[in-house]
């Protein structure tokens, strides 16, 4: 089988298009590259949407945590502690078991029947867990940045007669983003890497539509050779990480565009954060 044929058969296999059966014997390099790359679609999907939704949730949580009102602050602190204090792996299991317990026929809300079975599928259930998880970690980063907004900036805003929403929108929020961005970049990379856990925890890979590590371990289980499939997956992730760093670096430059020489390159320090 030629490599072009393999690509048409398996390039979108992780989404359910193309050949129904996975290759069973005579594995060649092309098959491994194509299938593992096909699985990467799920990793990118989870990372993109979890970051997108998580970003807004994290902003809200960070503000709630900084609020003087205990009715806002306490729940936000509890949420952040819950998701930062427990392993993502356990969160996946717990969420899956909880979602499975929802009634199969759907839930009646105001006379409407809401279907719930889709929540137990990875594309929705795992996305929810990842979103909440990254929101908690990012909220902690944003809260730290909000606390680090220079006092002079706030006094300057007062002097200009800005207050309330306008002060937040024009002065506090941009500075908060600017300060938080390097740490947030690390969090995004961590989240991208954490997406590999989805199909290794409770969420089943429906019709063998899995992520790249799912397919990599499929090959390793069949060939007993970890020295090919795992490095391929690792290579894809290094590429993905580089893309992520460059995208976040562009945002960083935009955030710091008024500060000559301040938009330094983001140094990727993986662990000073989680």
């Amino acid at each position: 089988m030629s490599c072009a044929q393999t690509i048409t058969d398996y390039a979108l296999r992780s989404l359910g298009y193309g050949e129904r059966l996975l290759p069973r014997s005579d594995f060649d390099l092309c098959q491994q590259f194509v299938l593992i790359g096909s699985g990467l679609i799920w990793n990118v999907y989870f990372a993109f949407f979890a970051l997108l939704f998580g970003f807004f949730l994290a902003n809200a949580l960070a503000l709630a945590k900084a609020s003087p009102n205990p009715w806002l602050r306490k729940p936000a602190e509890a949420f952040i502690f819950l998701f930062r204090g427990s392993p993502l792996f356990i969160q996946f299991f717990l969420a899956y078991e909880a979602l499975v317990m929802l009634p199969r026929a759907g839930v009646e809300i105001f006379g409407l029947t809401v279907q719930t079975s889709w929540l137990t599928r990875a594309w929705a259930g795992a996305l929810i867990v990842l979103t909440l998880n990254t929101a908690a970690y990012s909220a902690q980063i944003f809260h730290g940045a909000l606390m680090a907004v220079p006092k002079g900036d706030l006094e300057a805003a007062d002097a200009y007669g800005l207050s309330g929403w306008k002060k937040f929108r024009r002065v506090m929020w941009p500075t908060m983003m600017r300060l938080a961005w390097p740490a947030y970049t690390n969090e995004a990379i961590f989240l991208f890497h954490a997406t590999t856990l989805v199909f290794f925890s409770a969420f089943p890979a429906f019709q063998q539509r899995g992520d790249s590590l799912y397919y990599a371990s499929y090959f390793v289980d069949r060939t007993f050779n970890p020295f090919v499939a795992y490095p391929i997956a690792a290579g894809y992730f290094i590429l993905g990480t580089l893309v992520l760093i460059s995208v976040f670096g562009m945002v960083n430059r935009r955030l710091n565009r008024h500060l000559p020489g301040a938009a330094r390159r983001i140094r990727y320090r993986p662990l000073l954060l989680r």
Binding site: G85, A194, T196, Y268, R274
Partner: protein, 293 residues
């Protein structure tokens, strides 16, 4: 466990629960929490030692050693750690068996035949004749190595940064006293770097703590394994039938981890305070002023 547990079917309420929670398999479940703590207790020093070696290697003046250190410290940056957790045990296992195959077997057959990895019976690890607990222990041993290698690389990153954070003037002073490079490292650099390394290391401890459920993926019978086994729905064929209770078992594990992180946070805060005493940093200055006042 209790005397009244002899006939589970006749029990009710709290008595049933007390019997149910003390069955033999539940004892194994509780023991597996010990497995997690044991893994932490072994892995953390090993990782710290590996990280220390890695950080020293990447500062070495001997070029190949420096390359080795740099590659080791940067390998965890772009690649998800779970890939390493899956890769290292299999790769190590095959490396051990391959080495033993070279020495212990007298066959010339290649080890890799198609999709199979075949070594002779004498080279198997552990030997197929050894008891089950050796197999379990070997699995945990591979897991410990995998965790140590990955977290060693993380720790090497932290320690390398901490060594660079020690003020240059301190080292220059030591050099001015006529100390050799080795003496400078041992007497000045290494004692001073810990306060800079501590924030990174405490983060690392938290990550390590939260990576322990991944033992399940390595085939070790850990808390996740037992939670799935015990929580699954039991029909009346079992002594203690119950519906699907996995949610509650996972809730218990969640509470365990929350407790662990909560305790760790408190301890680490105290250690940080302790280590900043007398340091030329902001925290050290705050402590000094607090003591004076």
């Amino acid at each position: 466990m209790f005397a009244y547990c002899a006939d589970p079917a006749s029990l009710e309420g709290l008595q049933w629960l007390s019997c149910y929670l003390t069955t033999g398999t539940h004892m194994l479940f509780y023991a597996s929490f010990g497995t997690v703590l044991l893994l932490l207790a072994i892995t953390a020093p090993c990782a710290l030692a590996l990280g220390f070696a890695g950080a020293l290697a990447s500062r070495s003046r001997f070029l190949p050693l420096r390359w080795f250190g740099k590659i080791y410290t940067s390998m965890v940056r772009g690649v998800p750690d779970i890939i390493f957790f899956l890769f290292v045990p299999i790769a190590l296992d095959q490396a051990f068996e391959w080495t033993r195959h070279q020495f212990l077997c007298d066959s010339d057959a290649p080890v890799r035949q198609g999709n199979d990895f075949i070594v002779c019976a004498a080279a198997k690890l552990p030997l197929s004749t050894s008891p089950a607990w050796v197999h379990d222990l070997y699995g945990i041993f591979l897991a410990v190595i995998a965790f140590s290698v990955v977290f060693g690389a993380f720790a090497a990153n932290v320690l390398y940064g901490a060594m660079r954070a020690v003020p240059r003037a301190q080292l220059e002073t030591a050099e001015a006293y006529g100390m050799t490079q080795r003496q400078v490292a041992r007497r000045i650099l290494i004692p001073q770097m810990w306060t800079y390394a501590l924030p990174g290391l405490s983060n690392l401890w938290m990550i390590l703590l939260k990576a322990t459920p991944l033992l399940f993926l390595l085939g070790v019978e850990d808390i996740v394994y037992w939670a799935r086994e015990l929580g699954g729905a039991k029909t009346s064929a079992f002594a203690y039938p119950h519906p699907d209770w996995r949610l509650y078992y996972f809730l218990a594990i969640l509470v365990f981890y929350l407790l662990m992180t909560w305790i760790s946070e408190r301890v680490l805060t105290r250690v940080t305070r302790r280590l900043s005493a007398g340091q030329a940093t902001m925290a050290g200055e705050a402590l000094r002023k607090g003591a004076a006042a």
